[in-house]
Symmetry: C2
């Protein structure tokens, strides 16, 4: 299982993904699900993958190969809009599923995969897309400036409550990690380490990448404080009166 | 969609269900999903239904009819264990699905339904079961003394953090309502009113039933305080240092 989330704020974007993959519970390993395509000063594009790993890697491979082998064709380093980038991912998914899907379906293997794709291309604002397994895609709105993928529900309520377009980037990092903490407590198949990338608006700099490992002191402290804070919030609610059980 | 939850604590049990049903978004109404079978001093049995409404109502109908028309057969008012009650629900589901399932499947209609069944039969301890759509069932453990059904994920993290067998009944009511608040914020197809039943251990009294309506002042206050408390808990986490973006 995967959990990944991307937020688009006024000040920039935060991308994060877990790194666990499993083909059955006895075959668990780590993979990169956070993919960065950047050219200093011109574009930073981040893709978070979820779903069948061979399909998502096949799509990524196609995107990289076109850029490398056919630089005159429209590719991820040449198109002038993130909309076109989302379309590249959609088409790569369609091509890969067409090539591989039949063989997987014959073994009842789910051939679906999807991407969250976002970032900034020079001349454009920040943009964030969710590319579905069928290759179609949607862009995030200002009211809900985030996308999640994979095991999304456990970590959604806290984002719903806190996110707003004017959230500071450092708070967005906190919010992202709290959302991961909630998800990992309720679903053991989402696991550390977490890959995180922070992109400040107009920086065209993809260097703010961090891998949060098992023993990361900040993430541990955040989990502890969040747990204590929730219990305090719960304790702060008065007992029901009309509903109460009187012994 | 449905959300329902039942908790089994040392002091008693709490059952709750939303009351919304929909056959498409343009056909929404209220139904009872909390069903009580009680005989003063002898048993209190509560069933929370989820899934296809015609199937769950068909199963409930069969259970009531057997008790009424064949009182000499094992029925919900005569069996001496809640295990047998869970089996009655499982068999009623199997019978109903066998009778109706074929016609529904022909129209691609999901014919699955399931029950949370719990309570106390005189001579037994409190017991809580989850009866699957296939008619098999499991009993709750002491480590995780609750079952949820329907749209379970949004409201699960807070229960995971707070529940323990020695939780007071009034706190369990609070916890149940906080879990509903989280669920209803993230999924509009789960809606008020909430039906709630509180059963104190060894009381054999099913009278503590409440319907929490839209304008319930306690539920509103609880939602407000929980939201504020979460935001405070979030604010209480220090900013990331190593990860931080320095302007």
């Amino acid at each position: 299982m995967t959990y990944c989330v991307a937020m688009k704020l006024g000040a920039g974007m935060v991308f994060a993904s877990d790194t666990r993959t499993n083909a059955g519970v006895d075959n668990i390993s780590r993979v990169d699900k956070l993919h960065v395509f950047s050219r200093q000063g011109d574009r930073v594009i981040v893709a978070l993958s979820a779903g069948n790993l061979s399909i998502s890697q096949g799509a990524i491979n196609q995107i990289e190969r076109v850029a490398l082998e056919s630089p005159d064709k429209p590719n991820i380093y040449s198109v002038r809009s993130l909309y076109d980038v989302a379309e590249l991912f959609g088409n790569a998914l369609r091509d890969t599923r067409q090539r591989e899907g039949e063989y997987l379906r014959a073994q009842n293997i789910d051939a679906s995969a999807s991407f969250i794709v976002g970032g900034q291309v020079a001349g454009e604002r920040l943009r964030l897309f969710l590319v579905y397994s069928e290759g179609n895609f949607i862009e995030s709105s200002d009211e809900a400036p985030f996308f999640q993928n994979g095991e999304t529900k456990y970590g959604k309520p806290v984002i719903d409550r806190v996110i707003s377009p004017d959230l500071a980037l450092n708070d967005a990092i906190k919010l992202t990690l709290v959302s991961f903490d909630s998800t990992m407590r309720s679903n053991i198949s989402v696991g550390l380490p977490i890959d995180l990338l922070v992109y400040p608006l107009d920086s065209f700099d993809a260097s703010r990448q961090h891998r949060i490992e098992e023993n990361d002191p900040y993430f541990r402290e955040l989990g502890r404080l969040w747990n204590d804070g929730l219990k305090q919030a719960f304790a702060g609610i008065p007992e029901p009166q009309r509903l109460a059980v009187v012994a």
